[in-house]
């Protein structure tokens, strides 16, 4: 299955891309996706959103999901 990986703010800047498609085996969870992150962002703190909702590392993924990695927010 394919999921879209989207990065924001400092993560996007460090990784050098905003969005890419990642191919994963059926049954993959968020952790499996995180194992394929570019080395430039490994070790940074972020939260996970799937289809615009906060999610966990063990949340199951399905084809077409939009997975966003969110640095700690600083709005306001």
């Amino acid at each position: 299955m394919n999921v879209r990986l989207r990065l924001f703010a400092g993560l996007r800047q460090v990784a050098g891309f905003k969005e890419k498609v990642v191919t994963l085996p059926e049954g993959a969870v968020v952790s499996d996706l995180l194992g394929q992150l570019p080395s430039s962002i490994v070790g940074r703190t972020f939260y996970i959103a799937i289809n615009e909702e906060y999610a966990r590392r063990d949340t199951a993924l399905k084809d077409g999901d939009l997975v966003a990695l969110l640095p700690p927010v600083s709005g306001g």
Binding site: I41, A68, G75, G76
Partner: protein, 157 residues
């Protein structure tokens, strides 16, 4: 329903008169509005720190959804609140300009409008996916907020 959105991310300058109109109702006599504005100078232990301007970025659809959810939380905690609006600007924001406005309307001033507005800005700063970049003549840096215990960290050192 009014065609005007109550929870909105926008590139346009924010107006306190506009948000007051969005929440005004004939049965409400008190409206509290919080404006977060761009500080040009911040006092720190190491002396005064300056900023030239800020840039804001948002995960727009998720941010608007989370802001609406904060509105729901407010109405649940303060049942006398009749209307909530939250507006956040993205893009370049100059010193003294408002970057966020939160307005809460209640029938009377003692019905929770002050407390609910304070709650809403705390929640916004905790969970709404918006980020600011500080800019100076010689550089820029994306600001990361404090860790949020309620959220699961995806990865870290």
């Amino acid at each position: 329903m009014s065609p005007t959105k109550l929870f909105e991310i926008t590139e346009n300058p924010l107006s306190q008169d506009d948000i007051l109109r969005r929440v005004s109702r004939a049965d409400c006599g008190g409206v509290v509005t919080f404006a977060g504005t761009v500080r040009g100078t911040t006092a720190t232990d190491d002396g005064e720190r300056g900023t030239d301007f800020l840039d804001y970025e948002a995960y727009i659809p998720m941010a608007e959804k989370m802001m609406a959810r904060i509105g729901d939380e407010v109405m649940e905690r303060w049942p006398q609140v009749k209307a909530v609006s939250i507006l956040h600007r993205i893009g370049r924001c100059e010193i003294e300009e408002p970057t966020v406005l939160i307005a809460v309307a209640t029938p009377h001033r003692g019905d929770g409008c002050f407390e609910a507005c304070r709650y809403a800005i705390e929640r916004l700063k905790a969970v709404v996916p918006i980020w600011k970049k500080e800019n100076w003549a010689d550089g820029e840096v994306w600001v990361e907020g404090p860790r949020q215990p309620e959220l699961v960290v995806g990865d870290e050192q």
